[in-house]
Symmetry: C2
């Protein structure tokens, strides 16, 4: 054990010590999900510290995603959420005739009401990472951009932005809010000769940007999963890119794929 660790174990700062004990109480089940933590003033009195020190302890747990503080009410042990899991099969033809989209299906499974909201539909210049993935050979790098938010009950869960080369999207009615095809956007694209043969999904996780935290109403301590999806047709051409930004405490991914 080196000097640093030696000191840590002996002279652990009070805020961390309090945090450790609260964490221990949570992990041991003494404080169950949904339970209320002692108030900051009570913790301070109990441990003989200033309120700020007790507050710091609670904050450590908040930042770790274990606790959620509610202004004027108290701090509570966070309840694990059932995950809405997007699978790679969400683009499978098998869903077509079922009628329900995979997202709505997942919501239904959990007794939640899912819905989509269209934020904007515009002609735009794509961000570089999108332009680099789309086969946009034209000089005018222009795409149709559709922004959506997916809701589960009253929680915004995913922010979804789809980019389609303008040359492909033009004249298809994809500028309308209501997509003019029974099978949605991908039905339209298929009619234009782009049958989805493969998908390529690049996955990352990170803390939300300020605007994402606002839009997804994210409490502290919740990261986002950032998925950059590319649809590739039977000729190997990338004809559509979608970015999913999902709140990680309510969503996950699932890939069930062959080994090639």
């Amino acid at each position: 054990m080196n000097d640093h660790e030696e000191r840590e174990s002996v002279r652990r700062p009070p805020s961390k010590r309090i945090a450790d004990e609260l964490r221990q109480a949570i992990e041991s089940g003494e404080l169950t999900p949904g339970a209320k933590l002692p108030s900051e003033r009570d913790l301070a009195a109990h441990y003989g510290t200033a309120r700020n020190t007790a507050r710091e302890a609670v904050r450590i747990l908040t930042d770790a995603g274990l606790v959620i503080a509610e202004h004027g009410r108290g701090a509570y042990v966070r309840k694990p959420q059932a995950l809405i899991r997007l699978g790679n099969d969400r683009y499978s033809p098998k869903y077509r005739d079922a009628g329900l989209s995979p997202f709505l299906l997942e919501c239904a499974k959990q007794g939640k009401t899912g819905r989509f909201e269209v934020l904007s539909i515009e002609r735009a210049t794509p961000p570089t990472e999108v332009a680099g993935r789309l086969d946009v050979s034209e000089k005018t790098k222009s795409v149709l951009r559709r922004e959506n938010v997916f809701w589960a009950d009253d929680d915004p869960v995913q922010r979804v932005t789809t980019y389609i080369p303008w040359a492909i999207a033009t004249g298809t009615g994809l500028l309308q809010e209501e997509v003019p095809h029974q099978y949605g956007i991908h039905g339209v694209l298929e009619d234009r000769g782009h049958v989805m043969a493969r998908i390529r999904e690049e996955i990352n996780a990170r803390m939300p940007r300020a605007d994402e935290a606002r839009h997804l109403r994210l409490p502290p301590g919740v990261p986002v999963i950032d998925v950059l999806h590319t649809s590739v047709d039977q000729k190997g051409k990338a004809y559509e890119v979608t970015r999913f930004v999902m709140r990680a405490d309510m969503s996950g991914l699932l890939y069930d794929v062959p080994v090639e």
Copy 2:
């Protein structure tokens, strides 16, 4: 605009205002990655606040993963890291004769030296989520557990734990540190009749647990990606489960898969 938003825009707390300005400076490129932020004392003097208030501003950015504070040195704009991307093709036979593992390949691409470290190899009882995914029909739910850490240069990047039903692992030499097969663990399993036909990967992101933050040496504001991998053989039997816990600022995933 409701009352709350009205107040926010007018009476924004000083700590958030300072954080906003620093964030703005970072996003605009005024403060480039690696640049040093003003010291907390300087910020406080400049904005006419107490040091704690300036400190709170810096902390907001630290928790968002934008800034890293170094004790005794200063706070710095965090540099984006090149991601080590694990692909679904990492189990593909095509890597077999190349000799290098996908992780090491990715490290090499970035001029880094990758290495594996074996933490433990033991017979154990699997956690419930593992037991539920492995086809362990026996009454004695016992598995071989191998724990590894993957390093890139001097950074621990992934914590990897593999579970194999004891009935499959016994007598294979998988209890040794050096796996007795040219193609590694999966070579051994293949000799036992388990050819990997499909993989199933469940993906999540979350803030690290305390022990994970310690083991992966995670700075504040960095989430982990948690992947639960299941290998399925040609008969549809799940014969191996691996959990990857990866630091999200240095790693990502990539799936390039057919639409079935």
